[in-house]
Symmetry: C2
Subunit: 342 residues, 2 copies
């Protein structure tokens, strides 16, 4: 397993070309109130508005669009019960590639239905007795499929990096300029959540290439901190039982590609508590009127709680996805509250 970076900026630029017209150029949102709370000028890259509801479409589409004709004819396989499953299924439909997804038996029926709705075949396994990587490998070998891993793949990482690229470009061009004076700024820091590290890796490579002086910070829930452990410990670390409401970030370990990229390009890794995630999520829903899933609030959470000393800076944050269970989020947020987005 390589620990050298295997993705560079040219791969992200190339991914951006492939994604043009296929992925949404998601909007950059700002809020006067958020700027007051954080003491920063904050620019949110809203990947909750991405196709299939999360940034995952970027990586899946980029990787699958690069398959040769034989590979496309053979079809792909992946394992996921979440956003990567839906993203791969949608990319497969658009690229006319058959998609098989290994999903645990206990995955929510709605997630399975959504993935099947895009035309993918779902193969279930019993997570109590079977290991998902082995199930996926058996499908790959037995059916002659191509594996599209959820994060640890150069083309997946390159695709995810296009979100940060768009954010830097948009902010420079004056996006999120509520006052209407049209003046752009350069970002001085960039935050992204970290699960397996695909989004954070791509974000860091894009950011350090375009804006070398900008600080790149990865954020994890306290209960699912394999990235922090690897970053601070200097070696890939395993978290056996990640625990967090931010289910999109429950990864056991970084991969070789993502560990290398994060070690090389990320300046800081931090964690946030469940309460900090919830407060941030509440603000995003009630004040900014954005349907964001708990994972999608994680990147903003340390800024929202002024844990980073970035006051006065222009800061970009990747809001990673919006595939939230509205009822579950409403319950988690507790007392319902009518609110105002100033």
């Amino acid at each position: 397993m390589s620990t050298e970076p295997t993705v560079d900026f040219s791969h992200i630029e190339s991914a951006a070309e492939r994604l043009a017209g296929e992925a949404n150029r998601t909007p950059v949102m700002t809020s006067r109130t958020l700027d007051q709370i954080t003491g920063c000028r904050v620019f949110l890259k809203c990947e909750n508005f991405q196709r299939a509801g999360a940034f995952k479409f970027r990586g899946a589409y980029n990787a699958m669009s690069r398959l040769n004709a034989d590979e496309k004819a053979a079809g792909v396989v992946t394992h996921s019960s979440g956003n990567h499953a839906q993203a791969t299924a949608l990319a497969g439909r658009l690229l006319d590639v058959r998609v098989t997804v290994a999903m645990p038996l206990d995955a929510p029926a709605v997630k399975r239905k959504a993935t099947e709705g895009y035309g993918a075949e779902v193969v279930t396994y019993d997570p109590a007795t079977e290991v998902r990587e082995e199930v996926t490998e058996a499908l790959r070998a037995g059916r002659g499929l191509v594996l599209i891993p959820p994060f640890d793949h150069p083309h997946v990482i390159a695709g995810q990096g296009t979100a940060a690229l768009e954010l830097m470009d948009a902010v420079r061009d004056g996006a999120g300029d509520a006052a209407g004076d049209g003046r752009g700024v350069e970002l001085e820091a960039m935050l992204a959540p970290c699960g397996g590290g695909g989004l954070l890796s791509g974000t860091a490579i894009a950011c350090k290439s375009r804006l070398p002086g900008a600080r790149v910070i990865g954020v994890e829930p306290e209960g699912s901190d394999c990235g922090n452990r690897a970053f601070h410990g200097g070696a890939i670390a395993r978290v056996s039982h990640p625990q967090t409401m931010a289910d999109g970030l429950k990864s056991h370990a970084l991969g070789g590609h993502t560990f290398a990229a994060i070690r090389e390009h990320v300046d800081q890794m931090v964690t946030v508590s469940e309460d900090e995630i919830r407060d941030t999520l509440r603000f995003l829903w009630e004040r900014m009127k954005l349907v964001v899933e708990p994972s999608g609030a994680v990147g903003l959470a340390p800024l929202f709680h002024r844990k980073l000393g970035l006051e006065g800076r222009a800061v970009g944050v990747i809001i990673s996805g919006g595939n939230a269970d509205v009822g579950a989020v409403a319950e988690w947020l507790g007392e319902a509250a009518v609110s105002l987005g100033e």
Copy 2:
């Protein structure tokens, strides 16, 4: 009471100048899936992202910014338990004008708190024994305040019309162009919800002046249809007990100004059922990841259900606000569902 139009396009252009840098130029959102469902090219003007969470800020700020120095020093009064209260309170804070709001005793505590949070004084009355217009008039006369009515006022109507103006401009300039080819279009129809008719009046005046061939359609809930009754009956009609989840549209009657503008400039008035509103709201939350209040889904509902024969057209829709009670909406939407926004 005049039934002649008292607002023209120049008033809306003038309001736009006053609102520049104060109101948000809210984004225009599009969705491939929504276009498939409706058979149209749909452009949503997302006033849920407006300051104080709804289009109401436009009218309130425009009206209050036109007060002379004596009037500003005297302060203003209005009656509302909803978005107009918050909008007026925020405009007062920005313009340094004291705001008094008459609010029923049974208004949700959170709405009262939000209005007070912007610095307004809330005066409660018992809706069982007192009439809100009389309470407001007593405050106006007794304290020497200036009345800022929630909809039936030329400056309020002109302010609300700026949302449609921005939408037409943005679509012409290529907004909501997910494919990234940058080509704009001209809207062929425009939909807005109707409560007291301020938003619909402003929208219709703006639209018919800029795009005379475009069709303007007002939409009401079946159980709160004073606009439909007035439009089809040719005279202001009163609905004593409006019933709908779309609480922002529970008006008893159009006003003289709004009736005149709607009769002059609106092509069609339609109603939608509660189920149609709910289906539309669910789509906006689960697929488009937008926190919209039930009233805010009403303008889109007839298009979403293909009730208008607008297939193939470029259609603008004002999504009026996002001050939703997350828990109540989650309950109304029923079974929680993880979903995908394609």
